[in-house]
C-alpha cells in the first residue's frame, strides 16, 4: 500500500525555535518524496524534493529509508513559515499521494 502519514495536525512553535514536521511513508519501491506548502490565501506550491537535496527558505529534508521517513526541518522558525505543509510520495510515474497535512504556527 502507498501511504503518507503526517502524525501532527498542528505544530505550534515560538519564533527562533527549531522546527521538525514529521512524515512517514509506506511504499515497497524506491520512493520519490516531496514537501508542498500552502501559505494563507495562496496556492499550494512545491517547497522541496528529496532528489534535489536542496535547502529552500532554510528548510531541509532527508530521506531515511531505514525509518521510512522524510521529516522537514528548519533550525530557526520565522513567523512567515506559518502555513499548511503536505508531505507527498510519488509511487508511480505521474501520480502523487499526499499526507493529511500539518499546520505550522510560529508564534512571536
Amino acid at each position: 500500500a502507498q501511504r503518507v502519514t503526517q502524525p501532527e495536525k498542528l505544530l505550534s512553535v515560538f519564533k527562533g525555535a527549531p522546527v521538525e514536521l514529521k512524515c512517514n511513508y509506506s511504499y515497497s519501491g524506491s520512493p520519490e518524496l516531496f514537501w508542498y506548502v500552502q501559505y494563507s490565501r495562496q496556492r499550494l506550491q512545491l517547497l522541496l524534493r528529496h532528489i534535489s537535496r536542496e535547502s529552500i527558505k532554510g528548510f531541509t529534508a532527508d530521506l531515511n529509508k531505514g525509518e521510512t521517513s522524510f521529516h522537514l526541518k528548519k533550525p530557526f522558525a520565522q513567523e512567515e513559515d506559518s502555513a499548511m505543509y503536505y508531505c507527498a510520495l510519488k509511487p508511480q510515474v505521474d501520480k502523487l499521494v499526499f499526507g493529511a497535512g500539518t499546520i505550522l504556527r510560529v508564534k512571536s
Partner: protein, 113 residues
Amino acid sequence: DVKVTQSSRYLVKRTGEKVFLECVQDMDHENMFWYRQDPGLGLRLIYFSYDVKMKEKGDIPEGYSVSREKKERFSLILESASTNQTSMYLCASSLPNLREKLFFGSGTQLSVL
C-alpha cells in the same frame, strides 16, 4: 509563469444538481489532475489525465466523472451532487513524469446544500 485557472472560487449547489468544475492551464502540460482537500484527510486524488480524451481513476472517483476534450482544459463533473461532496477542489497540471512539479490552481470551494 504557469497559470492554472479554476473558473469559480466559491460555488453553492443543491443536492441532486449536476455540477461542472472547470480548470484551464496555459503551459501546454500533458498531465492534469483533480484533487479534493479536506481537513484531516489532506489531498485525495479523484481523477487524472495524461492526454486529451484519456482519463484515469484516482483514489476516490465514486460520484465523479471528468472530461478532457482539449489539452488545456480538464473538467470535473458531479453527476448528482451530494452533501458529502462539499469540499475544496484543487486542479493541478504538470509535465510528463511530473518533471519539475505540480502546478496548482487556487481552488474551488464547493458547498452542497
